[in-house]
Symmetry: C3
Subunit: 432 residues, 3 copies
C-alpha cells in the first residue's frame, strides 16, 4: 500500500516540512510587520464600535453563553472518544457543570481533573471531588490574585496547572495496577472520534472568549483575544506537523489533533493579556503544540509505566505542561513590562506597577511564586482528594468495569451482545 | 456483575442521596444568603455595562441566532435518538423551522406537537398541521397576552402547555392500535443517543436566552435568565438523582437525562420574569425534574396502554406537566406581588398592577384563567388537527412503516439489509 | 411496500405540491403586504436598540465567533458525509482554517475549492493550493471592490463563483480516469449523514451573519440579514419540494437537503445588501434551491462523464450556479436603484451613485463586468493551481486510495477489517 521506501519517506516529511516552512515564513513576517494598533479602525479585528458605522466585522464580547458552549459542548464531547464511555463523558460533564453553576464557580478547574481522574470514579465520587476541588481552587485563586497580585486572566496557573496536577496526583493515589483488565475498552471508534472533534472545535472557537472574559473591556480584551487566536493557529499547525513527523508512515493521529491543537490556548493563559506581541504568541503556540504532541507520543506511556499515573485523556499534555510553560511565559513577559510599551493600559494589566508599588522584576518574581504556590495547592489537594475517594463507603467500579458506560447507564441493546441485547423500547417502562 | 446485594443497594442510593444532600444544602444557603441585587456591579452575573470597564463576564442579550441554534440544533438533534428516524427528525425540523420563519412565527409551539405527533405523520401532513397550529397558537397568545393581560414570557402556557396538549390530543385522535408492528424500530442506539445529547445541551445553554428574550431589556432580562439558569441546574440534579433511584441497579437512563433535565426551563416559563427568588427557582426546577423523570418511568406507559396516547418522545413529561406546573407557579408568584418587592420594575412586569387597575389577587386569577383557556384551545385544536390529518387524500405511512426513514428518505446502504443494500454513490444520479 | 401505483403517485406529489402551494401563497402575501420599515420599532426583527427598552428580540451583530462557527463547524462537518473520509474532512478544514486565520484571510473562498478538489489531494497539496488561491482571491477582490466599484457584500462573485470555478477547473486539470477504483468509498453511511447535517444547520443559522458582516452597521446589516433569511427559507422549501419530486417513489435525498437548502444564502450574496425586497428574496431563494437540486440530480453526472470534472461534493450546484445567478441578480437590482428607493442609504450601498459619479445602468454594467473578471481569475488560477499540484515532487494518493482516511490518519480498528483490526489503545504509544 505504501509504495517504495523513498515515496514513504517523502510522504512522511512533506506535510511537516510545509507546515514548518509556512509557519516560519509567517512568523518572520509577523515579527517584521505586525504591531498592535491602538486605533480600532486600523486593527485587524476589533470590538464593534457602536458610535461609528464601520464595515469590519468584529470579535464578540465574551459571554456566559460562549463559555457554557465551551464547557458543556466542548468538554462534554471532547471526552466522547472512548468507545464505550460516551454516555458517562457527556452525562457527567453535564451534571458537574450544572452543579458548578449553582455554586457560582464557572470555572474549568475541576473539569480538567475530571479529565484525568474520571476513569476510576463514579458520579457520586465526582461530585464529592468537585466539592473539595472547588474550595481549593477558590483558595488558590484568592492567594494568587488577591494576596500576591499575580496576573492570570486565562488561568494558565489557576485553572490549567492547578486542575491538571490536582487530577494527576489524585490519579496517582487511586492507581490501580489491575486496570489493564479494562484496557480493551479504552480505544476509540471512528464515530466516537468524530464526536470528539465537535468538542475540540467548539473549544477552539471559544477559547479566545474564555481567555479574554476576565480582562479589561475594550483594548484589554481585544489584545487578549488576538493573542489567543494567533497562539491557537500556531499550535494547530505545529500539531499537524509533529503528528505527521512522529506517526507511522507519516500518518496523523486523531488524538493529537483533538488535544494538542488546543495547547496554544493554554500556553497564553497568563500572558495573552500582556504585551506578548503577535510574534510572541505564534512562537508560544508553536512551542506548546510541539511539546503537547511529543508528550502524547513519548511521555504518556512513561507516566503510566514508570510513575503509575493513568492519564487516559492526556491531561498532562494539554493542561499540565502547557500550563506550566504558560506560567513561565507570564514571568518572562511581566519581567519585560515597561511604561512605554503599555502606556495607559499599564493601569489595568499591572496596577501595582502603574502605582509604582512594584517593579517589573518584582512582578515577575511574584508570578513565579504564584506558580509554586499553585503546584503545592494542587499536589496537597490531589492527595487529600485521593484519600477521600478511597474511603470504603464510596463505591468504586471494579477493575474490570472501568471505561464502561453500562455500570452507570442503561445502554441500548446494540452495544451489548447483539445476539441477545434487547432494544430499550421493548422494556415497558421507557418511551413506550 | 453487580456484586453482593448490599453493594448494589449502596450503589443505587449513593448518587441520589448525594444529589439530594448537595441540592438541599445549596437551597438552604440560597434561601438564607442570596438576594437579587439591583446594582449590576454586585450581581453574580449581569449585562455587560458598556459605559464602565468592569471585569466580570456577562450574559449575552438573547438574539435570533441563539434562538435559531436552540430550535434547529436543539430540537433537530434531540429527536435523533430514534435509531432509524434520524433523517426525518433533523430534516423535518429543518423544513418546519424554515417554513415557520417565513410565517414570522418564531415560536416553539408546534415543534412540541411535532415532538408528540411526528411518529404517525408524513412531511406534508406536518406542514398542514403547522399551518393550523400556528393560527391557533397566535389566537391563544393574543387572548392571553393582549385580552387577559396575562404574563407568560417564557411560554409555560402559550408555548409548552399549548404545544404539548395540542400534540397529545392529536396523537389520541390518530391512535393506531396496530402500531406495535413498528415498535422494534422505536429504540435508540448508542450513537443516536449521543447525537440527541447535542440537542439537549444546546437547548440547555440557550434556554435562558429563550425565556428572557421577550422581557424588558436590562434588569428584567437579567432576572429572567438568572432564574432560568438556577431552575435548570436544579432540574438537572434532580433528574440524575431520580433516574438513578428508579433505575435498575441504580443505573441512569439516557432518556431522562436528555429530556427531564430541561424541565427546569419549562417550569419557570411564566414566573422567571417575576420575583421568583433564586431559592424559588431552585425548588421549582427540582420539582420539575422530579415530576418529569417519574413521568417517563411510570406515567408514559399508562398513557399509552390506558389512554391510547402514543407519546414517543415524552412530550407530556417535558412540556405538558412542567408547563402546567409553571402556569400554576405563575399564579402563585403573581398573587404575591407587591409594590415593595418589585419597585420600579413593577411597571414592566405587571403594568396593570402598577397603574392600579388590578390587584395582585386579580392578576393571579387572570393567570389561572389563562391556563384554562390554553387547555381549551389546545384540546379543541388538537382534535380538529387530528380530524384534518385523517382526511383520506392525505397519505399516512402504513402501521408497519412508522419510525422508519426509508419511507421518506433515500437511506444509505448500510442501513438496509447489509447483504444487498447498495451504497448511494453507486447509483448514477447522486454525487457521481 | 409502496402500495398501489395511485398511492405512490399521490405520495410523490403530495409534499412538492404542498411546498409549492405554501411558498406561492406566502410569496404573494409578501409581495402585497411586506415592506421594509426603516423605523426599528415596527420592523419584524431588528438590532437591539440600546437606548430604549423594547421587547422584541433581535439579530445579533455578526461576529468573528459566528463566522468561525460557520467555517469550522459548518464546513468541517458538512463534508463528513463520506463514510471513510470523516477525519480528513474535519481535520484538514481545521488545519486550513487555522492557517488562513494567520494569513488574515477570513474568507470562505478556498474552502469551496477544497470542497471540490479535496478528493485527489493530500494536506500538503492543500496548503500549497491555499497559498496560491488566497493570493488570487485577494487580487480578484481588490480589482472588483476597489478598482471597479462593484458591490458584493456576501461574496456571490468574490467568494462563491471564484471559489467554485477555481476548484472545478483545478479538478478538471487533475482529472483521474481511474478514480472509479475508489468509487465504493464515496458513499455515505447513516451516521455520517447526520454529522453532515450538523454542518448544514450551523451554516444555515450563521449565513445571515456572514452576508451582513461587511455591510454598513445598522440598517444595512439589518436589511442584508433579513433578505438572507427569507432567501434561505425559500431555498429550503424548494429543495424539499424538488427533491421529493425527482426522487424515487417521492423520497427525499439527504444530499439535496444538506446542500441545496443553503443555495439561498449564496444567491443573495451580492444583492442582499440592496433593496431586493422580501418578495425578491423569496423568489431568488426558491429559484436557487430549485436549480441546485436539479443540478445534483441531472447535471453532476454529466459533469463527470462528459466534462471530466469530478465534483464529489457538488460545489457546482451549491456555489457555482447559485453564485453566478447571484451575480446576475446583483446586476438587475443595481440597475433598478433609484434615489427614492434607497434614501439616505444610497450613500453606503452605492456611494458612486450617491455622489453622482455613476448612473444605475453604469453600476449594473460594472457588476456584470465584475462577474466576467471573476470567471477569468478563477479559470486561469484553477489551471495554474492544477499544474502546480501535478509537479512530480508532490505526492498524490494512488487512484485506489482516494476518499480514504487511512492514507493520512491512524484510524481506529473498527474501521479496518474487524477481524484483525487492533484497537488504537492496544498500541503502546497512544493514550496508554
Amino acid at each position: 500500500m505504501a509504495g517504495s521506501p523513498r515515496r514513504t519517506a517523502g510522504r512522511r516529511l512533506q506535510l511537516p516540512l510545509l507546515c514548518l516552512l509556512l509557519q516560519g515564513a509567517t512568523a518572520i513576517l509577523f515579527a517584521v510587520f505586525v504591531r498592535y494598533n491602538h486605533e480600532t479602525d486600523a486593527a485587524l479585528w476589533h470590538w464593534r464600535n457602536h458610535s461609528n458605522a464601520d464595515n469590519e466585522f468584529y470579535f464578540r464580547y465574551p459571554s456566559f453563553q460562549d463559555v457554557h458552549t465551551m464547557i458543556f459542548v466542548g468538554f462534554g464531547f471532547l471526552m466522547v472518544f472512548l468507545q464505550r464511555y460516551g454516555f458517562s463523558s457527556v452525562g457527567f460533564t453535564f451534571l458537574l457543570a450544572a452543579f458548578a453553576l449553582q455554586w457560582s464557580t464557572l470555572v474549568q478547574g475541576f473539569f480538567h481533573s475530571f479529565h484525568g481522574g474520571h476513569i476510576h470514579t463514579g458520579p457520586a465520587q465526582l461530585l464529592l471531588m468537585a466539592l473539595l476541588e472547588v474550595v481549593l481552587f477558590g483558595l488558590n485563586e484568592f492567594v494568587l490574585l488577591s494576596l500576591l497580585g499575580v496576573k492570570d486572566a486565562g488561568g494558565s496557573m489557576t485553572i490549567h496547572t492547578f486542575g491538571a496536577y490536582f487530577g494527576l496526583v489524585l490519579s496517582r493515589v487511586l492507581y490501580r495496577p489491575q486496570l489493564e483488565k479494562s484496557k480493551h475498552r479504552q480505544g476509540s471508534v471512528y464515530h466516537s472520534d468524530l464526536f470528539a472533534m465537535i468538542g475540540t472545535i467548539f473549544l477552539w472557537i471559544f477559547w479566545p472568549s474564555f481567555n479574554s472574559a476576565p480582562t479589561t473591556l475594550g483594548d484589554g480584551q481585544h489584545r487578549t483575544a488576538l493573542n489567543t487566536y494567533y497562539s491557537l493557529t500556531a499550535s494547530t499547525l505545529s500539531t499537524f506537523a509533529l503528528s505527521a513527523l512522529v506517526g507511522r508512515d507519516g500518518r496523523l493521529d486523531m488524538v493529537h489533533v483533538q488535544n494538542a491543537a488546543l495547547a496554544g490556548g493554554v500556553v497564553v493563559g497568563t500572558s495573552a493579556e500582556m504585551m506578548l506581541t503577535p510574534f510572541g504568541a505564534l512562537v508560544a503556540g508553536f512551542l506548546a503544540g510541539t511539546v503537547s504532541t511529543l508528550g502524547y507520543k513519548f511521555f504518556t506511556p512513561i507516566l503510566e509505566s514508570k510513575l503509575k499515573v493513568q492519564d487516559t485523556c492526556g491531561v498532562h499534555n494539554l493542561h499540565g505542561m502547557p500550563g506550566v510553560l504558560g506560567a513561565l511565559l507570564g514571568v518572562l513577559v511581566a519581567g519585560l513590562a515597561t511604561h512605554e510599551a503599555y502606556g495607559d493600559g499599564l493601569e489595568s494589566v499591572f496596577p501595582l506597577l502603574a502605582k509604582g508599588q512594584r517593579s517589573a522584576t518584582s512582578q515577575a518574581m511574584h508570578q513565579l511564586f504564584g506558580l509554586f504556590v499553585t503546584l503545592i495547592f494542587a499536589s496537597v489537594g490531589g492527595s487529600l482528594g485521593g484519600l477521600l475517594l478511597r474511603l470504603p463507603f464510596l463505591d468504586s467500579p471494579p477493575d474490570s468495569q472501568c471505561y464502561e458506560d453500562q455500570i452507570y447507564w442503561e445502554v441500548p441493546g446494540e452495544h451489548e451482545d447483539l445476539a441477545q441485547g434487547p432494544l430499550r423500547a421493548e422494556e415497558p417502562e421507557t418511551r413506550a
